[in-house]
């Protein structure tokens, strides 16, 4: 445990000096502020409080931004050590490869939590300032926060795996961006196209819900929107999505970080320094 904490504290110092803490926080705060400003049109028509509406739009933002920030922080984790030549020495110390990754994960998750808390906090303050009923949306904001951290953990783990597999930072960066595009953008577009082509057939009823659950970003979106149904309409989530029980999407967002970390450790074990 001590070794993991020591690794985390060294990684945090490195991320702080490399301005990753600043970049992550500024990015989340900036986008949240833009969203709050854009969403300031009257929303009383939907009958939801301001904060719940903000949470719905923050969810759509987080689906893109949290995986991106997580991948940007993690792609260098192992490939960078290989390129700098720091890995052989580290691996002769009495620390296991899993512990090295857990230490890095701890530091990166702390940074991500900080960024998420700052960004969502700003949006919450903005919502509460204009609507006194907004406090009733606090539980959904809290849910969004911890599920964002879990989503981040998944993509951090995936990023470490990519980093270990490609062994060169440039290759890892390319793979990370590619993966982000496929999992966050193309996956949904592909599903949408399939659903349209299928026109309510077997795919839409049997495969589509599981395809959504299999993608951690979609599961995250489902979980947050389904859990606050009042705002689901505001985000225009499809009918099929709301039919998926919350426990299923919750399972997906909890299991994914564990899977991603197992994948990362397995990939890291294959690296010969």
């Amino acid at each position: 445990m001590n070794r993991i904490l020591a690794t985390a504290s060294a990684e945090f110092a490195i991320a702080f000096r490399n301005r990753w803490v600043l970049i992550a926080v500024v990015m989340m705060v900036l986008f949240s502020m833009v969203l709050s400003a854009a969403g300031s049109a009257p929303s009383g028509a939907l009958g939801a409080d301001r904060l719940s509406v903000t949470v719905a739009s923050l969810t759509s933002l987080a689906v893109y931004l949290v995986p991106l920030v997580a991948l940007l922080m993690s792609f260098d984790a192992i490939a960078g050590e290989v390129e700098r030549g720091t890995l052989p020495l580290l691996l002769t110390y009495p620390i296991s490869r899993a512990e090295v990754l857990l230490g890095k994960l701890m530091a990166h998750l702390a940074i991500l939590s900080l960024a998420v808390a700052a960004g969502y906090g700003v949006a919450a303050v903005a919502a509460i300032a204009v609507d006194e009923n907004a406090a009733s949306g606090l539980p959904s904001l809290w849910r969004l926060m911890w599920s964002s951290v879990l989503l981040g953990a998944t993509f951090l783990g995936v990023g470490y795996a990519i980093s270990a597999l490609s062994r060169r930072p440039s290759g890892a960066a390319g793979l990370a961006i590619g993966l982000w595009l496929v999992m966050i953008v193309l996956f949904d577009l592909g599903l949408l196209a399939a659903v349209v082509a299928d026109d309510g057939g077997v795919f839409t009823t049997q495969v589509f819900p599981y395809a959504l659950l299999a993608n951690p970003a979609d599961a995250f979106r489902l979980f947050n929107l389904a859990a606050s149904e009042a705002t689901a309409a505001a985000a225009g989530v499809s009918g099929a999505a709301t039919s998926i029980p919350v426990w299923q999407s919750l399972t997906s967002i909890v299991v994914w970080p564990v899977l991603a970390l197992i994948l990362a450790v397995a990939a890291f074990r294959k690296v010969t320094p």
Partner: protein
């Protein structure tokens, strides 16, 4: 005494390239062993196998009674890689604190360790701003952490200035006196000569010679060179027909055993000889004798 390190018939092949063939070696507690060899001889490969960083294909490796790379072996072994590198964003003291924590030692010793390698002045600066020799010293400092039973040092003095080299070897003397085994590689023959107990020469992945410097000298049986300055050149040349005149001196070589006989013959020439200089085979001669004798 059980050896700290035992290698038996160690063999390693990299995708068709034979890097080590059947190398056997033992290092006892308190012993300082220098590994010499040409570029690509397999020194770094041997060290990485001992540390468990890369697998070997044949033979046996036992490090402090355990398998290389096992938790026990790693706990007992310190390593200084060739071209040691650290994260440029960390300061020297942060880096050493981290390594101390990994070995379960108190991180507050970091400053004292950096002082031992003469780096306390720059300890709070980022490693990215360090010179090569300063980085090497951070590498040395981390190798001193805890009480390692075995130190594996790959070209530890590369990048160090002459004074620091001397300080480094006296650090090693202290560690060896406390019972640590030291295996180091080097290309600097003269410093290895005085400061290690045993020399091992690798050539193309094979162990070609092993022993103290005096033993290796005897084994190599290289000729001795004599420089004779003549007062009466013609007389001396007549007496030593094999000698070649270079830069005003008559140069001749003879085997170790013949040396005394030849000297007697020269001194027998009396006043015709002004001076004699006897040059034993140099370290370089001996080294190239061993590292070439197979094939080259």
């Amino acid at each position: 005494m059980t050896p700290t390190l035992t290698l038996k018939q160690l063999t390693k092949t990299y995708a068709g390239v034979r890097a080590l063939s059947e190398v056997s070696l033992r290092v006892a507690p308190g012993e300082r062993v220098a590994l010499l060899g040409h570029n690509g001889a397999g020194k770094s490969t041997l060290m990485k196998i001992i540390l468990g960083l890369i697998p070997h294909d044949g033979g046996e490796v036992v490090v402090t009674g355990a398998a290389p790379g096992s938790a026990t072996a790693r706990g007992n072994t310190a390593y200084l890689p060739e071209n040691v590198a650290f994260h440029p964003a960390l300061t020297g003291v942060e880096q050493i604190r981290y390594y101390l924590s990994l070995r379960g030692e108190n991180p507050s010793q970091a400053m004292a360790l950096l002082e031992r390698v003469g780096l306390h002045g720059a300890a709070k600066r980022r490693i990215g701003t360090y010179s090569k020799g300063m980085r090497q010293r951070v590498g040395l400092a981390q190798a001193l952490i805890g009480k390692p039973k075995l130190l594996v040092l790959d070209e530890p003095t590369s990048g160090l200035d002459p004074v620091s080299r001397r300080d480094f070897y006296s650090l090693l003397d202290g560690l060896a006196a406390d019972g640590a085994s030291i295996l180091l590689s080097s290309h600097a023959l003269t410093e290895v000569e005085a400061r290690t107990d045993r020399i091992v020469i690798l050539s193309k992945g094979q162990l070609v010679a092993e022993g103290s410097l005096a033993e290796l000298r005897r084994q190599a049986a290289l000729p001795v060179t004599l420089h004779v300055i003549a007062r009466d050149l013609a007389a001396v040349q007549a007496a030593l027909p094999d000698a070649v005149l270079t830069d005003g001196a008559l140069v001749l070589t003879c085997s170790q055993e013949a040396k005394l006989a030849v000297l007697t013959r020269i001194t027998g020439l009396g006043d015709a000889v002004a001076d004699i200089e006897v040059l034993p085979p140099s370290l370089e001669d001996m080294y190239s004798h061993f590292s070439r004798r197979d094939g080259q």
